[in-house]
Subunit: 422 residues, 4 copies
């Protein structure tokens, strides 16, 4: 029988970390003593547990320690993390440490470094001068980069509940079409107001004046059903009113939005007449072709070809847009990034400062964005199909909230909550 | 080779009946000549086709004639329908004619009689004095009742497109969450206004003054998600404002509606607080118990136990309610009809005069109601799950429209369209 | 500041009970000391915690104690449960204790009594001579029955993990169509073999010889899609081979099963030909009519009208069948219990001894059965629509497993696992 | 009142084209005479109709003619198609003709040319020397290319029913989980055998010996759920046995397939053990990294890193693989085409000769492939979510069949039908 002592620290009751760790030890065939336990008696106070883990063999002990390390268990008497050079461009050392989306530190020269730009399923690159650690995607690693390997000298931190007592603070925020959604929408709207104010403060009084935890940007990730279902005016208004700062989408959302501006249809379905227009299914192709002729969305708006709608608002408000291509695209629009690695990089570059992510009626882009978001960013995912919010909510943070409703009703109710009169 | 001539009459182009008939003949191995064809050159004019059907054997010819008879093909030189007595109570003659939900006539003594109370999957009973034909459910047939058997002497009529050029007139009214729903809701609201006016005319000037095609009642069939999701105020307002006249539901909708009145929750989820209330899942049980103690919903409202909501509005406006029980009910409320055959009979009794059926967030009750509705009643089915509207829309009439959206957003937008300011 | 001490006992780590209790205290605004904690260091050993709960007011303290009582927290120095007479037939005392589906005891005369026939959302009736406690449905209570009220003197027990290390022991048994289902099916099959053996032992050597925890009956709850989709032969074989002992269904499953025997179709769709048969949608009506003429399913099988299929197997093997009616039924078959309260009572009466519940392609009957099942009965719910298994799995026991797949593939693979060569 | 005569030719009854055309005329406010009608009296004989269309204004007449032209109505006395040069690279003339996926001809110099590589939503480029017409994607057009504009001189042909009387010949092949799928699978298997034989004949006796209508390749389009759900062995066997010739997929299917070869897991879920393996979610990342280190899938298989599974079979059988990237990819594998336009081009290049397309558990790739397929290629789309097959089946050809079932059960039953003993 071999033994090792580990410590757990933070909101380990709040986040159900402690029992998960104890259960994992038992499930894998080990045993434990809870040698010390101090549970914070209020919400703010953090907790601390010291656990002595026993196993039959050193191999099993090692396996158990690795498994519970993912939940933040730190082996007492920690050592530095191991570093190995990448063998060639685009290839990591075989035993590279794969990140989670939780706050993470690595120990280098006896010092714990925060891992920058944390995101799940990447590697960690340590750079010496100045000393820092940052995630790196597999495709971007260069031969010789020093990459963290194994699990020693790495620690992750369970999330704290957010300070605001809104929907994002409740684990009970299940995905269901049978829950009242008005309070969720009200809480989202409230957070959007706060972020707009915080952003204003940063612009007026400098970055230092704003609350970095709250963030200064609201990201919307949207699919074309927003336009098809009738949510275009509401989203345009939200952008015009300064509530949205970053837009991730594909080719179809802008194409159908601009189709609506030119032809008054969406996928050929008359937005005013309420029925299909003859040859209307060609309208988005003609729209894409005209925008290609104009040179791009910005030119199309500025030349007056596109007069209203989401794209017109984005261009006028100088929104940070990432249009990421996919293999089902028609055209595509000239602004679409057709290379998927470049598109991922553009999405990552737009994320710093995002304090709220709203995903509406898109599966591909919602999941791609979810992969890049740190766990701590409050996220609301709206879809008529419960499978999409469920996938996002499975990310395991307090702050992912799912809403099962149609995109148009969501955007209209959200805008009304923010005093739109549409 | 044997031959028989059949005629097709009515809106056989409009309704795709002609090609279905021709295709059926070919698919079953027959052949045909289109001996005469007159196609109405305007929407109003009806069409006429005479088809000579050829087949190898008399048996095959008979089978083909039977198959196309369901689409309204009438064998020239029609004979009376066959009638056989029911062998015992609750049992039909083995070869009884099973109805569709389309307008149907049977020929008795050389005279075509309209079949009253047409509904799918029932038998037709002919009564002599006075001579009339009416559908009869299998469980209600009495030994000796004269029942139509076989297919001769029976004819069904394809539906005409409704006169109103609204959503109910378009076969393209697909079920989709990617179509704008505002026009559908506007058309539903428009029809609700017309029916309310028509009803008022009937009340003020007598039945003869009203338009019987339009109907004088709006039926709502609803599930408990209406309350859970936050559509309670909107539905109460619609009832109070005289837009709803019949309600079909189960035990859960009224239970959670009255739970909201007593406890402010729905399935224990606080409708104002936006999160689960401790022990809230017991609230509907306590509600049901208190209403049982009061003696029923009417007594609970009149005694002041229930102050607001859907049930309070129904009682005050004297709405025709059918609460049909199911095996998953708690309690149930005293008003619930626990016998399913009695509940079906109560539903049938409430249908005459219904000019619009709105089904919201219920599968069991929507399908049970769909089974009882004539094809000509405009029907809108709203559900977050596309499977439910799809099932209803598969009924094969112009007038079934599906909407994929959450019940609360639907009811709120419908009420707003009818000038609610909630 | 007021304080009360509570104890938690059992598999409180395993079942995540301890942190839920601590979190509930904090969420409701209280505070606590973990005055003693002993965590079982192996799977078998149970754990024990003593928690001192603090709150600002006695009212808040009371609320917190009530909330955590549902998780098994017992106030030290427990008193007897409160009992009040039912005010009239079918009406409970206003503050009746509403049961969960977990093992429960009530304290009467200083003695803890097991509550018999535990099931969620019922009341508890205490009878004096001989002294025992048993659940009672609201509709069955009689005036003067002594009913447990409030929460004192009641304790519930968290479930232990089942001894078998099969799928039913893992909380990770999520509902997903993206998990391999072969192991789940293998574990279900294994349990079916064990129950068949156990049942055999009970029959041969007497009840005392069998393992009561394992159970002696397998319950199948099924919908008509089993027949439509092609799972009829596999299910018949399972019944014939002695693996199924109780069947809950509605009118449609037996109607379409017997339609297949008489006409070779299911809902008019040829099971051999693979396409719709002319007038085939009438076949189930004719089938029901013939079975009504015969007098019932047993008579139909014994007279040779029905030669093969699920019903034929059930009659031959003398399976305990409960056919519960619903308002969408055609006919119905003479064996259908049309009163929903009587149907619930019949279902309850068939449950003792059930050691495994398999729910296939039915929403209404699956949920109704789920309401009646104690938490400890292993349950597998199979549906093509993930919403149904999700609802069942939300029951909060280890033993509810969801499988998203079509009913025919499930039954065929299950039968093959049990060595069917179909 | 102005008038124009149009003709309709082909299987216009079979395909419901005639009534659609007549109905369109009426709906748009026109009128018509059916001046001549000859309906083919057998399946093989084609039909012919001459329709005189009347409208109030020449503008309305023009609109009606355009609308019905899409259904194959040809204005009598047809003229050549109009051609305009593309204004710049990647931009079409504003009024370019947008293709459907039906067989299409354009009239140039009085001669009708078949449009090659027909596919929906593209333009048609006419090249003079030698004279031919071929579809061209918007992004590939070059300045000066002669592009068909307007609708005159273009005709499309309704599909004939396929000669084989299998599932692909029936419009009734609805998407449903409540239909028996065995016959569909049997028909798919039968067609796979025929194509394998045809391919063999082409290889042995030369292209001229084979039946070009039947095709010589089977395309599978697959998602990672094939591996997750347990369909890997069956698909490998189908490839090894020569039934599959082209594979379209993304990054995830090959990644998880090779993860299964190296680690025995899929997305970290043990394919043998039936539960999640500690740190298993990292396995696919490590797999991708090792394949990147090896240089690609071919090298990974040939070096022995990957020993079994779908990729191993594909490499050994020299299957034509197109791995198209998306923004949610990890890694990706070196074989993934990350540019979406290049990926579309690679997919198009692999389509000629495809006689059957099988889409399994993928939305993005299924829809992208559906966009590129001519209407006449029989297509079966299998998904647990009915929305995906519905989308594909909406393509409006006889030959698109949807199956709602899980991917593993489908592939296993398909392989068993082709005599796999797995």
């Amino acid at each position: 029988m071999v033994t090792e002592t580990v410590t757990l620290e933070g909101h380990i009751i709040d986040s159900l970390i402690l029992p998960k760790v104890l259960d994992t030890i038992l499930q894998m065939g080990g045993a434990f003593d809870l040698s010390k336990i101090h549970v914070g008696a209020t919400r703010k106070e953090s907790s601390h547990a010291e656990i002595r883990v026993h196993a039959e063999t050193t191999h099993l002990l090692e396996e158990i320690l690795q498994a519970i390390q993912a939940h933040g268990a730190v082996v007492a008497g920690a050592v530095d993390c191991a570093l190995e050079p990448a063998p060639k461009d685009g290839v990591l050392p075989d035993s590279f440490y794969a990140t989670s989306h939780l706050p993470t530190q690595v120990r280098v020269n006896g010092q714990w470094l925060d891992v920058e730009a944390i995101e799940m399923d990447l590697a960690i690159r340590v750079v010496r001068d100045p000393l820092h650690a940052r995630t790196v995607p597999m495709a971007e690693v260069k031969a010789g980069d020093m990459i963290v390997t194994g699990r020693q000298g790495v620690r992750v931190f369970p999330l704290e509940r957010p300070k605001e007592r809104d929907v994002f603070a409740f684990m009970e925020a299940h995905v269901s079409s049978e829950r009242p959604h008005r309070h969720v929408i009200a809480d989202v709207a409230h957070r959007m107001r706060m972020i707009r104010d915080n952003r204003q403060k940063a612009l007026n009084e400098g970055e230092a004046a704003c609350d970095p935890e709250l963030g200064t940007k609201v990201l919307i990730v949207g699919g074309p059903a927003i336009v098809h279902a009738g949510g275009r005016e509401a989203l345009s208004w939200l952008i015009d009113s300064g509530f949205i700062h970053v837009l991730f989408c594909g080719n179809a959302l802008p194409a159908h939005d601009m189709e609506a501006s030119i032809f008054g249809t969406s996928l050929g379905y008359g937005l005013c007449a309420g029925h299909a227009v003859p040859h209307g299914h060609e309208h988005h192709l003609r729209t894409i072709n005209r925008v290609r002729a104009a040179g791009g969305i910005k030119q199309a708006v500025e030349s007056g070809l596109i007069k209203d709608g989401i794209m017109a608002s984005c261009i006028r408000k100088n929104i940070d847009m990432v249009l990421a291509g996919s293999i089902r695209d028609d055209g595509p629009l000239p602004d679409v990034i057709t290379d998927t690695l470049q598109a991922q990089a553009a999405m990552r570059a737009a994320l710093p400062g995002v304090g709220l992510a709203i995903m509406v009626a898109t599966t591909l882009h919602a999941i791609a964005t979810g992969n890049c978001l740190p766990a701590k960013v409050p996220t609301v995912c709206v879809d008529i199909n419960p499978a999409v919010p469920t996938k996002l909510s499975d990310r395991g943070s307090f702050q992912a909230v799912g809403l099962v409703m149609d995109s148009s009703s969501f955007l209209r109710e959200l805008a009304q909550e923010l005093s739109w009169h549409g």
